[in-house]
């Protein structure tokens, strides 16, 4: 599987957030997106996840089974919010997402009990999600990545609120995913502990925004 982005740009309101971003990711590639706050990392990831329309450019998949339509259908998106319900237990949350999302062609997800063990918190799956600490919530949101198989993982600041041990655990999860031929795109300020990654440095568009300010 190969994910190609060609000449992507996106706008928020009137301002161009980034312009002409292109990359090619093959199976087992990881792309680490870095840059200062406000440089458009999250916006880029939302474009890649199909949640925002790019102003120009396109995103496409090659060498993949023909039944796959949009790239977003075979992607996991882990944003700033965990997409878990506070009122439901962790196990209920995970098994809901497993059944709702289903597996993409080419792999199978693991059972929710195995997934919580993989993030190192096997004993608290029976608790309501709202009872957990911020770090535990983030780890459970990562468990969501492996209950339903998706070849592409799009991760926005995945290791925020995590301690050092959880960082390593997460790096192992990502490595295992890459080892199976998956693709990972992560925006982060901290090193993820991966070797052999591609880097994308976002610089932002202060000058463009400034021009716009003068025009208006």
């Amino acid at each position: 599987m190969r994910l190609m982005a060609e000449g992507l740009s996106a706008k928020r309101g009137e301002d161009l957030i980034f312009n002409d971003i292109s990359f090619v990711l093959d199976a087992s590639d990881a792309l680490v997106v870095t840059g200062p706050n406000g440089s458009g990392k999250s916006t880029l990831l939302r474009v890649l996840a199909g949640l925002l329309h790019p102003e120009s450019g396109y995103l496409k998949l090659e060498n993949c089974p023909p039944e796959i339509g949009r790239p977003s259908e075979v992607s996991h998106y882990l944003g700033h919010r965990n997409a878990m319900k506070r009122e439901l237990t962790v196990a209920e949350n995970l098994s809901f997402w497993q059944r709702f999302m289903g597996d993409s062609p080419g792999g199978t997800g693991v059972a929710p009990a195995e997934a919580v063990a993989a993030v190192g918190l096997p004993d608290i799956a029976h608790l309501p999600f709202g009872y957990l600490s911020a770090g535990q919530q983030r780890r459970m949101a990562m468990a969501k990545l492996i209950v339903a198989y998706r070849p592409i993982w799009i991760l926005d600041e995945p290791t925020a609120a995590l301690d050092a041990g959880a960082d390593r655990l997460f790096a192992d999860l990502v490595k295992a995913h890459l080892g199976r031929g998956g693709i990972v795109i992560a925006a982060t300020h901290q090193p993820l502990g991966l070797d052999r990654t591609k880097d994308l440095q976002m610089t932002g568009f202060e000058h463009l925004a400034g021009d716009h300010w003068h025009d208006a």
Binding site: K85, E87, L88, E92, W97
Partner: protein, 219 residues
């Protein structure tokens, strides 16, 4: 999809879910009417069906604004938008779960409240039946309003105002079907059929419009 239905049902029954809010509001509104109108039993039984329907309409507007907003606040809506499953199917199932949690209790509460209003057995039965047929339409119309106002932090009242004009036909035909059942010359079937048609119509249009609004609201 079945997983989504039961998850939403579970969420609305758990603490803070709001399944009981609607039915409690319905009971409160209808229960105070006899005190306000006074003990004129004939008058109460005459206005009973209309009061029950108005109460049910207002009660089903409560909580509609959270239908998609709760999903958006915790990021679940993003994942629902990304899936291969057509969004309108997701919206339809969410509406069905919302109705089962908030609309169905209204139908079951209506006989008790009918007694408050001194309604005959026939009138109570007809009200239950029309509520059963008509309240899903209110949920489907409401889903459109909820989807349009999904990114507004305090969109509750806006949703009600947006959808109330569209829900008026449901009220008119619901009430007129009940009166047709208890007053002899008027035929019962035509208003009931129109009510059914309205529900079926909005069951199709509502999810399509709501899904389109959700796609545009994503940012």
């Amino acid at each position: 999809m079945i997983a989504l239905f039961f998850r939403d049902l579970k969420l609305s029954i758990r603490a803070g879910g709001g399944a009981m809010i609607g039915v409690l509001f319905f009971m409160t509104v209808v229960a105070v009417i006899p005190f306000g109108v006074g003990p004129d039993l004939n008058l109460l039984s005459r206005i009973g069906p209309a009061i029950l329907w108005i109460g049910a309409l207002l009660a089903s507007l409560l909580g509609l604004d959270r239908l998609f907003q709760a999903e958006r606040d915790d990021g679940s809506l993003d994942l629902m938008l990304m899936q291969e499953t057509p969004l309108l199917l997701t919206v339809f199932v969410k509406c069905a779960a919302h109705w089962a949690a908030t609309g169905l209790p209204l139908v079951f509460a209506s006989p008790l409240l009918g007694l408050f209003m001194n309604m005959s057995e026939l009138a109570i039965g007809a009200t239950m039946m029309t509520l059963l047929i008509g309240t899903p339409a209110i949920t489907f119309i409401g889903a459109v309003g909820a989807a349009v106002a999904v990114s507004l932090p305090r969109g509750g009242l806006l949703v009600s105002i947006l959808i109330l004009p569209l829900a008026i036909p449901v009220l008119i035909f619901g009430v007129s079907a009940v009166y047709a059942a208890i007053e002899d010359p008027a035929p019962f079937l035509p208003p009931l059929m129109i009510l059914t048609a309205i529900t079926l119509f909005f069951a199709v249009i509502g999810p399509v419009a709501a899904a389109a609004a959700l796609r545009h609201a994503s940012d």
